[in-house]
């Protein structure tokens, strides 16, 4: 373990200001397929990011060489890139974008991850895939876990000292059924969407086996289901699909670096303009959206972002009106708009950029049963399996694993291949009911940035009813 205090003392005299961010991350993959071990990988990654400011420009240099000479060389590189970049800098930054915060954070854990052995996990997962063997038509059964233990220690020469420790488990249980050339896959709420800051308590054998049985039953059910009809009708989305809907059509378009054009060459721009904050009616009055890093078990809960800004819950959209965007202190300075603590990097080898974290739709007052009862003809879709949206985050098309037809206020037939498409603001304007109950999902794999970065996001969302949406099947 690198002693940052000692490292800082060794380096301090060489520049006016620097920040050290030391990251260690152990990622363990465990999977069983068809009752046999499939993947057992342990990846241990560690390195340090050196950050300096020279002439109002940040320079970054990351290295896995943690020797004294390696870190000194990285500092020289950071200074060199800062100097080179400062002649053509996009903005004049200062220490105002790097608060000298001190504090710590630790994921809520009941049972530490190391209290559960590889053997115990493989035993449960073998039982899990066995539980999915309900028929010869089930041709593939898998149980997968990605277990992440991360320690981040940041320290700056101006006094910042932040230690954050994360314990994260993402799981996926999946069954593929095949009959007469028809293939259907059902998972436990979408591939690795069930991801939480949690300990080994997540490996609850009884709960896993029950969910796996349901997954396999529903995969078989889909084989004989009708295709989702091609029409426009009311649409209820379950929280495991709302995750994707909120992520793509609210989270990304509100990121300030997209609005500023930093991301144009890769993931894209945004239909949202700086002048829209405080005026744009993004959706119906039932729409209340927050940036909330305080949800205890959500993937992207933390106390400070990677600039050192304290993370607090903020309303992005209230009563349907756009109030605030997703930008850290650098973007806030460039735009002159308030933002949130979301300057985040994927690891020690990347500079922080604006990332969504936990982006949630706040609860409403309806129940799922009331939404179904008030729908004359509609479809209830669950679990994302396909996603695509344009580079301005307007025209989207999303597909789900499983759906139920709603007729005269009741769930009737199961539908396969359910998809829907729409345009962001009109779609959110059609929101006509929001449930009080919410569920938390997320993704370990949100990709963005140049150089590319994968980051973890969390989404705690209710069931939602949308009016008159274009739906279609295969």
């Amino acid at each position: 373990m690198l002693d940052l205090n000692r490292t800082m003392k060794n380096l301090k005299s060489e520049v006016d200001w620097l920040n050290l961010r030391f990251v260690t991350e152990k990622t363990t993959y465990r999977s069983v397929r068809d009752d046999k071990p499939d993947t057992n990988n342990i990846n241990f990654d560690q390195g340090i990011m050196i950050e300096v400011i020279v002439n109002g420009h940040f320079g970054f240099s990351g290295t896995s060489d943690l020797s004294d000479s390696g870190i000194k060389r990285a500092l020289q590189k950071a200074v060199a890139v800062a100097k080179a970049g400062s002649k053509h800098k996009v903005h004049d930054f200062s220490l105002a974008q790097r608060p000298a915060s001190q504090g710590s954070y630790r994921s809520p854990v009941v049972k530490p991850l190391d209290s559960f052995s590889a053997k115990e996990i493989m035993d449960i997962f073998t039982a899990a895939t066995s539980a999915m063997k309900l028929s010869d038509h089930i041709v593939s059964r898998s149980a997968t876990a990605m277990i992440v233990e991360t320690q981040v220690h940041s320290m700056s020469s101006s006094g910042a000292d932040i230690a954050q420790n994360f314990s994260i488990v993402s799981t996926d249980y999946s069954a593929t059924a095949l009959k007469n050339g028809e293939t259907q896959t059902r998972t436990d709420s979408g591939g690795l969407a069930r991801c939480l800051q949690i300990g080994a308590e997540v490996f609850n054998r009884e709960s896993i086996l029950a969910r796996c049985t349901r997954v396999a039953e529903e995969a078989l059910e889909l084989l004989d289901a009708e295709n989702c009809p091609n029409t426009s009708m009311d649409l209820i989305l379950a929280p495991d699909q709302m995750t994707l809907q909120v992520h793509e059509s609210i989270g990304h378009p509100l990121e300030y670096d997209r609005i500023l054009g930093d991301e144009r060459n890769y993931a894209g721009w945004s239909f949202v303009k700086p002048e829209d904050f405080g005026s744009l009616q993004y959706g119906s009055k039932l729409m209340n959206v927050t940036f909330d890093p305080s949800i205890s078990d959500a993937m992207a809960s933390y106390a400070f972002d990677d600039s050192g800004l304290k993370a607090e819950k903020e309303y992005l959209i209230k009563d349907g009106k756009l109030l605030r965007g997703l930008g850290g202190l650098e973007s806030q300075s460039r735009l002159g708009l308030p933002g949130v603590a979301n300057s985040r990097s994927s690891s020690w080898n990347r500079a922080p950029i604006d990332r969504m974290a936990n982006i949630n739709l706040e609860p409403g007052t309806s129940s799922l049963e009331e939404m179904i009862a008030q729908t004359e003809r509609g479809v209830f879709m669950m679990a994302n399996k396909s996603w695509s949206i344009d580079d301005y985050r307007n025209k989207f098309q999303f597909g789900c694993e499983y759906a139920k037809l709603i007729e005269n206020g009741k769930l009737t037939k199961t539908l396969k291949n359910p998809n829907y498409r729409g345009i962001t603001v009109p779609f959110w304007s059609s929101l006509k009911a929001v449930s009080a109950a919410r569920e938390t999902y997320g993704s370990p794999y949100c990709g963005k940035g140049e150089p590319n970065q994968i980051i973890r996001v969390g989404h705690t969302n209710p069931f939602c009813l949308f009016e008159n949406v274009e739906v279609f099947g295969a």
Partner: protein
């Protein structure tokens, strides 16, 4: 002081040899190294948004013991003394893993697949000169994108005596230039920076951008005669990396080419796709150190010739491996050219859509190889062989069995190399090579 490539080679040989010499008689091991020393410069509006220097080395160890398999990877510092200590620790961890895990029924025996040693040095601009070189060339444009360059390394050793080393110095400048919301995409890549070549590339992009000055034409959803330029074909071909050619995926019911393999669907005789390492875009050895065939037809004249079959899948399903990577994705894909000449593209398109790029593709119905995605960058409405106007972006939803099947009218006689520009975790190796395609009734939905 030795340079990054030399120092890393010495470090890898020292650490890998130490691990291999430490193995007990009932143990075998396979070791891989991924390393890079990279400069990343991100531009927005021809200014520097962020620049980052990264030096990293990751060693991956597969240990086989008593029929069990453990896979571990850990960061190397590049300092032999420190890394030998951590290698000893991680080897012990791998042994403990093997003791805890069940038997691996599809374990692939570690064998000697030969030796290779290739270091391709480039002529990259000095890091201190890169920003000036790029911003001067792009002066006067709203230029955004990423420069990425430096040495990257992939190496392998195993306990059967196998040894592979591949190092290359290269760069890419992946950019777009803007006229308000309208934009043109370009990539300048290679192993030798040439300011005149970069300026020429930018000049091409500026000329194309000038065609976008006219107001955008908004089209209704429907089926249109469409020309996909090589950049758009590259996006379409990117879907083949999502398990399409995986033999394991085929057996597990998740390959999008299942119906092609089962002869329920067909593709056009004009469509031939190969895995071609002769292009020299990346190394032939996979992470097991196996050498893939230099040239392998995957789809020939519209018919699936073979899936990509890893040695693990071969063992599981009792078939012959074709030395695919464990993930069974293409690594050096080429779509072969046809006969449509560049000068005839607009004439043959006649009236329809000219699409330079596509964006954010995903399967909308994997079993039927149906894809949805968006048009992006320089996309035009063409009438009577003349470009009329840029189009407002449209969403398509189209099956490969249609657009690469009966609706594929022609394939161009020219191709473009699409270098890998992915930088997730580390810079990717390789790329692919694609022609343009003329398609009838390409379906747009929104």
């Amino acid at each position: 002081m030795p340079n990054f490539i030399e120092q890393t080679k010495n470090n890898f040989n020292t650490v890998a040899d130490h691990i291999l010499k430490s193995l007990a008689s009932n143990e075998a091991a396979n070791i891989n190294l991924q390393a890079e020393e990279s400069l990343f410069v991100r531009f927005n509006d021809n200014h520097v948004r962020q620049n980052t220097f990264v030096e990293q080395r990751v060693l991956s160890l597969t240990l086989q013991k008593n029929g069990r398999t453990a896979n571990l990877s850990f960061s190397l510092t590049g300092n032999n003394e420190l890394d030998l200590k951590s290698a000893t620790t991680w080897l012990e961890s791998a042994r403990l893993e093997c003791d805890l895990l069940p038997e691996d029924p599809y374990q692939v025996a570690i064998t000697n697949n030969g030796t290779s040693d290739s270091t391709l040095l480039g002529k990259l601009l000095d890091p201190s000169a890169i920003i000036e070189a790029i911003t001067q060339a792009a002066e006067g444009t709203d230029f955004a994108g990423l420069y990425s360059g430096g040495p990257q390394i992939s190496a392998n050793k195993n306990s059967a005596g196998q040894s592979h080393w591949f190092a290359a110095e290269n760069f890419f400048m992946d950019y777009s230039i803007y006229m308000g919301e309208k934009a043109v995409k370009g990539v300048y890549a290679g192993s030798e920076w040439n300011v005149d070549s970069f300026k020429a590339k930018l000049s091409e992009s500026k000329n194309l951008l000038s065609l976008m000055a006219r107001p955008k034409k908004v089209l209704e959803p429907g089926a249109y005669r469409t020309y996909l330029a090589p950049g758009a074909v590259a996006e379409l071909a990117s879907m083949f990396y999502w398990g399409s050619f995986s033999f394991n995926g085929y057996k597990q019911g998740t390959s999008s080419l299942q119906k092609l393999a089962d002869k329920e669907k067909s593709l056009s005789p004009l469509f031939t796709l190969v895995e071609n390492f002769k292009m020299g875009l990346t190394h032939r050895f996979n992470s097991l150190g196996e050498l893939a065939p230099e040239y392998q037809e995957l789809i020939k004249d519209g018919e699936l010739k073979t899936y990509l079959i890893s040695s693990r899948s071969a063992k599981e399903y009792g078939v012959q491996s074709n030395q695919a990577s464990p993930g069974e994705s293409p690594r050096s894909l080429e779509i072969l050219p046809g006969s449509l000449k560049e000068k005839d593209v607009l004439k043959e398109l006649d009236t329809g859509l000219y699409l330079s790029n596509l964006h954010y593709l995903n399967w909308s119905d994997r079993a039927n190889a149906r894809i949805t995605g968006m048009t992006r960058y320089a996309c035009f409405w063409v009438e009577n062989g003349e470009i009329v106007a840029p189009i407002a972006d449209m969403r398509f939803d189209e099956s490969l069995f249609d657009c690469l099947g009966g609706n594929l009218l022609a394939v161009t006689d020219f191709q473009e190399i699409n270098p890998a520009v992915s930088t997730y975790e580390s810079r990717a190796f390789g790329g692919n090579k694609n022609p343009g395609m003329l398609i009838k009734d390409f379906k747009f939905t929104l």
